[in-house]
């Protein structure tokens, strides 16, 4: 496929709107990113703890079965029958010794090997498969699977670098910190956003919007542009972490700054119950919020005491589904669990600091559709070389996404920043 993108600048400070809408780009992304040299988050090991446990996941738009075999190892294969292409596993999760397609009852092992073709030798001496039919040649397409501290990743590229190398030291440190002890799944939040999938990693890497779009953040000091904060990346600029320290500014300083910037029109709102925004210190770095993107489809957050792995599934060029898997730790007290459950009011599709993201992304997607020769402007935090910044008044991490994305897609302009 020949796809070219007209980047007006080599530092990705301009992003052509066509990149969110072009079906050829979407098709190429499925091949080069989701099925290419990338580790995609599948699910958490805690979701499939026992032999036979399975879960349906998606890598890009490809349905994948992730399951645990008798020996405790996890295998993943494409959920598409090798016979006629029917979906094999139809329940979102469950437990099974093998997987049988309902159409003609072809049967597969947990490793995705074809183990049964009914009436392969015919019936009453008639029909059946030709003698040349070799079941071994009709196994399901498998993914390479690796676990990082209980988070399962899959790759269609079996020659890809080891997972920890892919994550890099920064992500190993932060994601590793969040998964440093046995976790307990608390439940799911899901949403479908009618916007191109790339707008989501961009949003997660966009430090600038956090307190402007999300007034709750600004009001209660969970995230402000006036705080000690930063946006850091791995050396290839594909993964990112935005973090801040609440309490590193005062309400007075923040109020004045936001008033002078013209965004705070009235007084700060007040609550009956401040338990929702109470932070019980639990990470040794002292960060009140950490929002992480693991290229291409994975995310982790620690927002006060809510913890989640988020994963993204593409649903065509115009839509994606986001699944938030909220978790705590096995050793949480009942009070801590209750606190995490209450703070989940801040996140997910009805979250007091996250519902706005879905709306903002749909607005961008809707109105850029008819402006495909025009460009987004990404200059906060500076132009030119891509690197870390110790502030949230910063979009350089967004340019980092485009730099790595473009290399993987083979669409980087001549002499581009990396």
């Amino acid at each position: 496929m020949r796809v070219s993108v007209n980047w007006p600048t080599t530092d990705y400070s301009r992003v052509p709107y066509s990149i969110y809408h072009d079906p050829e780009i979407y098709a190429l992304e499925q091949e080069r990113i989701f099925k290419g040299k990338a580790w995609n988050i599948l699910c958490l090991e805690a979701e499939i703890p026992n032999p036979g446990d399975f879960q349906i996941c998606h890598v890009g738009d490809t349905p994948v079965v992730v399951n645990r075999d008798e020996d405790g190892k996890v295998y993943a294969f494409v959920n598409r029958c090798a016979h006629r292409g029917a979906e094999i596993v139809r329940e979102p999760r469950g437990n099974g010794t093998d997987h049988t397609c309902i159409y003609h009852a072809w049967c597969y092992s947990r490793k995705g090997e074809l183990t049964g073709v009914p009436f392969r030798r015919g019936a009453n001496g008639k029909g059946g498969m030709p003698a040349s039919f070799e079941p071994k040649q009709h196994n399901l397409q498998t993914l390479k699977v690796e676990s990082f501290k209980g988070c399962l990743f899959g790759s269609f590229d079996h020659d890809i670098e080891p997972l920890e190398e892919y994550l890099g030291p920064l992500m190993v440190d932060h994601v590793g910190g969040l998964l440093d002890k046995p976790i307990k799944i608390l439940g799911y939040q899901r949403q479908r956003i009618k916007a191109n999938w790339k707008l989501y990693p961009e949003n997660i890497k966009d430090a600038y919007h956090g307190s402007l779009l999300h007034e709750f953040n600004r009001t209660f000091g969970l995230s402000r542009l006036t705080q000690v904060a930063g946006g850091y990346m791995d050396e290839k600029h594909r993964h990112s972490i935005l973090f801040q320290f609440s309490g590193s500014d005062s309400d007075e300083v923040a109020l004045r700054a936001y008033r002078e910037a013209g965004v705070q029109r009235g007084e700060l709102m007040k609550l009956n119950d401040y338990d929702m925004v109470r932070i019980i210190p639990e990470n040794d770095k002292g960060m009140s919020t950490r929002v992480i993107n693991l290229f291409p489809n994975g995310f982790f957050h620690q927002i006060a005491n809510t913890l989640a792995m988020r994963k993204l599934r593409t649903l065509g060029v115009d839509e994606f589904e986001l699944t938030w898997t909220l978790f705590g730790y096995e050793d949480d007290t009942p009070e801590m669990t209750e606190h995490r459950l209450n703070q989940a009011n801040m996140v997910g599709p009805a979250g007091l600091i996250s519902m706005e993201d879905g709306e903002a992304l749909e607005l961008v997607h809707r109105t850029t559709k008819t402006a495909q020769n025009e460009y987004a402007v990404i200059e906060m935090g500076g132009v030119g070389p891509i690197g870390d910044r110790d502030t949230r008044v910063n979009e350089v991490t967004v340019r980092g996404f485009w730099a790595y994305y473009s290399q993987l897609m083979g669409i980087a302009p001549e002499g581009a920043e990396q």
């Binding site: 439940g187 799911y188 949403q191 479908r192 009956n272 519902m355």
Partner: protein, 164 residues
């Protein structure tokens, strides 16, 4: 939920319960949310729970207000800070199914669908689910002790801002 002695519910009780359920839908649809919140008791709970979490025994909700003061806070944030798709809601309710009565508290379930319409007049099915209500009926009328909205549409179309 096991159903007990439903047919023995006094008709007066049923009328008060049904009026609360119907009126609460009308209040949400007409954006009279402060009035809607007032139909909860001080310790009244309001939870929006994805059906998959209910089925899996997970406690994570989309909205979890353990008392009226917290529901009021959600409303404060909605009015002052939240940004969301401007829209009109229309709740369509089933007849309520009476599940049980314990003292002055009636357990009742009502199916709902919510059709959401944009400001340019396009309507879409937004949410299907069931209200699992515990309603106190007294001489003063009916109030919510607890409302759990279990939603089947748990892959939420974009976002939930206004209450279900």
């Amino acid at each position: 939920m096991e159903r007990t002695a439903a047919m023995t519910f006094p008709i007066e009780t049923r009328l008060l319960v049904e009026d609360l359920i119907t009126r609460s839908a009308m209040l949400i649809d007409s954006d009279a949310l402060e009035e809607w919140v007032a139909s909860f008791e001080e310790t009244g709970r309001y939870i929006v729970l994805p059906r998959e979490n209910r089925d899996l025994g997970y406690a994570i909700a989309l909205i979890k207000c353990e008392k009226r003061a917290i529901l009021e806070d959600r409303l404060t944030v909605l009015r002052a800070a939240s940004k969301f798709n401007p829209h009109v809601d229309r709740h369509i309710l089933s007849r309520p199914c009476y599940m049980g009565i314990e003292g002055d508290i009636v357990s009742v379930q009502t199916n709902f669908t919510i059709v959401q319409s944009s400001l340019d007049g396009v309507s879409k099915l937004f949410c299907a689910g069931v209200y699992e209500d515990r309603i106190r009926v007294s001489g003063d009328g009916a109030t919510f002790v607890e409302r759990v909205a279990v939603i089947d549409t748990f892959s939420v179309p974009n976002l939930i801002a206004t209450p279900i």
